[in-house]
């Protein structure tokens, strides 16, 4: 279906006030506040759309945007309604919408009209009451004050005979980011797990609104360190989409190389983590070493071990010549050979398989219900990859199939990650052939008029990242919104550990390996 046809089709439904197509694949549907639930239900039924997120804009009123994605055709449909002080709760219609609603409620001070779950998510007890930092009247540079006396956060109470609760965190043992986990257990069996995050909330969306567009890529890259290149790519895609600019194929291929390099070292770290958590130290150390080799390769070609400040809008911020090309080929070959050997070794070790097989299972139905994306969803049998549904750069030529597994346990996630690494090796090699000649470093000044808006969709190592941006005055953004993959995927962990024993929790957690940083923002 073409997007124009879709537009006409939706017009026929009779609810919308105004429909607009922007940037080729974005459909903005303005509706009335009272119709939201009705129209959403009809659209879910009629067009096989997926709920992807919800965010708030502030003009004179507040505008709530509901992001729906069409994974088959690669369209984004945005339902918009104006409101003064309350959000229409979609809890019960769109899954996981409570997260988005609670976030909007905390940051903009809107009330959730009729939802069940109204607990604070971003605002912890230590925050001063009545502060809504993303509102325009909360000035940039101002800080949230902390209270001395705090009240307790209400965790769900699961009380059974012989059950007790184990609180873990926010500071964990080992080198891990902060988050609070509360297990309700009977003996060693986990009955319920509640995750509390947002310990790292720094207010990146507010910072993004106040930084010049030419420096903004640096902030984007620091939303999540491990997916720096993907976030840089999101920024480049966003700016190029808004200003309708297309870069040449060589630069596109170079970007794909960087994105896939990032995927390799992340997944290597992930599978190393899985091995560490089952105490299988030999492969863990070797995967760690390979990841180090890739990091060093990244440092050699971009000057940063995390590929920072390499992907910029309108061009490339690095030189890519024959020397770098040979370096990439050589290192990738070494790592690939070694990688296959070690993977073979792990798959032949019975004690390792004993631990990972049939552990931490997330069933397909649950994964679907939770809107999970990325590797963890593909391990549960959801065949969705942004690189296939919303192809960017040269992925249209590269990404032909999707790696997925059926059962959705730790072992399947391990396998999908391995398959992704193998794919990444392949894509890098193909992309290298697409680069014609040398790529030269070229930085172009970004200058965009106000009032333009657009979305960028990128597959980071964790899953589907959707970034919305609207430009404002003084070459700055008016609003930036990140729908990060971890935000929805985190709750999958809750279901994965149900019925498992407490010592298996770290293993399940590591196989998910969601980012706290991008979730908290």
């Amino acid at each position: 279906m073409k997007i124009e046809d879709l537009k006409k089709d939706i017009e026929k439904l009779g609810f919308p006030i105004k429909i607009e197509i922007k940037n080729k694949n974005e459909l903005y549907v303005d509706i009335d506040k009272d119709d939201v639930k009705k129209i959403l239900e009809t659209m879910f039924k009629k067009y096989k759309l997926y709920f992807s997120g919800q965010f708030c804009l502030q003009d004179k009123d507040f505008i709530i945007n509901v992001i729906l994605t069409d994974r088959k055709n690669g369209y984004l449909i945005i339902l918009r309604y104006k409101t003064e002080n309350e959000i229409v709760s979609l809890q019960g219609i769109a899954n996981q919408s409570n997260l988005f609603e609670r976030e909007i409620s905390d940051l903009f001070g809107l009330e959730i009209a009729d939802g069940e779950d109204k607990r604070n998510i971003v605002k912890h007890e230590i925050w001063e009451n009545g502060i809504h930092p993303l509102r325009k009247d909360f000035l940039y540079g101002q800080r949230v004050k902390d209270l001395c006396e705090t009240e307790e956060y209400k965790f769900k109470e699961v009380i059974t005979d012989g059950g007790f609760q184990i609180p873990v965190g926010p500071v964990h043992a080992g080198i891990i980011e902060p988050g609070h986990f509360r297990f309700s257990v009977i003996g060693e069996l986990i009955e319920n797990l509640e995750i509390r995050l947002m310990y790292k909330h720094r207010g990146i969306e507010k910072i993004c609104e106040n930084v010049d567009l030419n420096k903004l890529n640096l902030i984007f890259e620091r939303v999540a360190g491990e997916s720096s290149a993907a976030y840089g790519e999101a920024f480049a895609q966003l700016i190029e989409k808004i200003s309708d600019f297309k870069v040449c194929e060589s630069i596109m291929a170079l970007r794909v190389i960087l994105l896939e390099l990032e995927r390799i070292y992340n997944f290597l770290d992930d599978i190393a983590g899985i091995c560490v958590d089952v105490g299988f130290s030999y492969p863990a150390k070797k995967f760690g070493y390979m990841s180090e080799l890739i990091h060093q390769l990244c440092e050699r070609i971009t000057g940063s071990r995390f590929l920072r400040n390499a992907i910029i809008p309108y061009g490339s911020n690095i030189d890519f010549t024959e020397i770098q090309r040979e370096d990439v080929v050589k290192t990738i070959d070494i790592v690939e050979k070694r990688f296959n050997e070690i993977v073979e070794m792990t798959l032949n070790t019975v004690s390792f398989l004993d631990r990972v097989e049939h552990t931490g299972i997330v069933e397909k139905a649950i994964a679907k219900e939770l809107n999970m994306t990325g590797v963890v969803a593909r391990a549960s049998g959801i065949q969705y990859d942004v690189r296939k549904s919303f192809p960017y750069e040269v992925y249209r030529q590269l990404k032909k199939s999707i790696n997925f597994e059926e059962i959705g346990g730790v072992f399947e996630r391990y396998n999908v990650k391995i398959a992704e690494i193998r794919d990444a090796f392949k894509y890098i090699k193909t992309s290298l052939t697409l680069i014609k000649g040398d790529v030269e470093k070229k930085k172009q000044w970004i200058d965009i008029e106000s009032g333009k808006e657009g979305f960028a969709v990128v597959e980071t190592v964790k899953g589907e990242l959707i970034v919305f941006a609207r430009t404002g005055e003084n070459n700055k953004m008016d609003r930036v919104y990140f729908k990060t993959p971890s935000f929805t995927n985190w709750n999958g962990l809750t279901y994965a550990v149900l019925g498992e024993i407490v010592p298996d929790f770290p293993l399940c957690n590591k196989s998910f390996n969601m980012s706290y940083s991008e979730n908290d923002r």
């Binding site: 105490g279 070797k286 004690s351």
Partner: protein, 306 residues
């Protein structure tokens, strides 16, 4: 008598060295340069100069526990022959030795419970869970040793086995049973991962999460001594060939060298086992110990009915 004291002193002093060597072997097998073999000594020295932090909910157990643990470990070291045995029956009853060693375990679990932190409690309960299964195996092995040598005294057992030339198949099966028990008792892989940083999976480490400073040094030293004693008991019961039974210089030197070689070989075996397999699921551990149990039964029946 003096030689007994000297050999036990040597065991106590060398115990951290053995755990250092074990760590180093593991590092080398995994292809990197690990901590120096003397690292446990440096750690203990530093810990002794640090302040203690004791949480408010702790009782006197946390204060006296570590000292009791260390003294139990040292005491049991004095009840074990290392490389010399004359076969005197004054000290060295196996039951006394085993029970003194379980004092270490008992106080460790008490300390784990005492700090009132969830991880300590979890660790203690897991430790007792494993210990409960492992206990019958010890007595079966002791029974086997009694059937073999008609003695419960480790000095005598060591002496009798040291001069023995043939080994029966029952002896080997019993040795395997003992080795599995040793691994379970000392919280090594695959029962517990001593290198883990994850408090939720820990067994042994979880109990001492709340201990700091001097106390930690005592407990670390005690667990190093415990591992060394267990390995020494294993060597003395099942592989005592070459042990000095008389006080001649040549025999002693030979005994010391053989002892060190045997120790290193077992450290190497433990290291290889720890590297090449993943940790078991907690509820699979009883199966491992059940296997050890049936080894012990098999050994006894082979010994007694042949």
């Amino acid at each position: 008598m003096i030689i007994n004291i000297i050999q036990s002193m040597i065991l106590i002093i060398a115990a951290p060295l053995f755990s250092g060597i074990l760590k180093r072997i593991k590092a080398i097998l995994r292809g990197y340069e690990g901590a120096p073999v003397l690292q446990p000594y440096f750690d203990i020295k530093k810990l002794l100069s640090k302040e203690r932090v004791i949480s408010k909910s702790s009782s006197f157990i946390t204060t006296v526990g570590p000292i009791i643990i260390l003294s139990a470990a040292i005491l049991s070291a004095f009840l074990t022959p290392v490389f010399f045995t004359a076969g005197n029956e004054l000290i060295g009853n196996m039951f006394i030795l085993i029970f003194i060693l379980s004092i270490i375990k008992f106080f460790n679990t008490l300390i784990g419970l005492d700090c009132a932190c969830t991880f300590g409690g979890m660790g203690s309960s897991r430790e007792m869970f494993i210990y409960m299964f492992a206990e019958p195996v010890v007595f079966l092995i002791l029974a086997f040793v009694y059937f073999e040598t008609k003695s419960f005294n480790i000095y005598k057992i060591a002496k009798l086995n040291a001069v023995r030339t043939d080994i029966s198949s029952a002896h080997i099966v019993a040795a395997i049973a003992f080795l599995i028990w040793l691994i379970a008792e000392n919280a090594r892989m695959p029962v517990d991962n001593p290198e883990t940083h994850l408090e939720l999976t820990m067994v042994h480490e979880a109990m001492i999460l709340d201990i700091s400073g001097r106390d930690l040094a005592y407990i670390e030293l005690a667990s190093a001594i415990k591992l060394a004693i267990f390995l020494t008991i294993f060597i003395n019961i099942f592989l005592p060939f070459g042990m000095a039974v008389s006080l001649s210089a040549a025999a002693l030197i030979k005994a010391v060298i053989l002892y060190l070689i045997k120790m290193l070989v077992f450290l190497l075996i433990i290291a290889i086992v720890e590297i090449s397999i993943a940790k078991f699921r907690l509820f699979r551990v009883p199966e491992l110990i059940a296997a050890s149990f049936s080894f012990a039964i098999a050994a006894i029946s082979m010994m007694y009915f042949s």
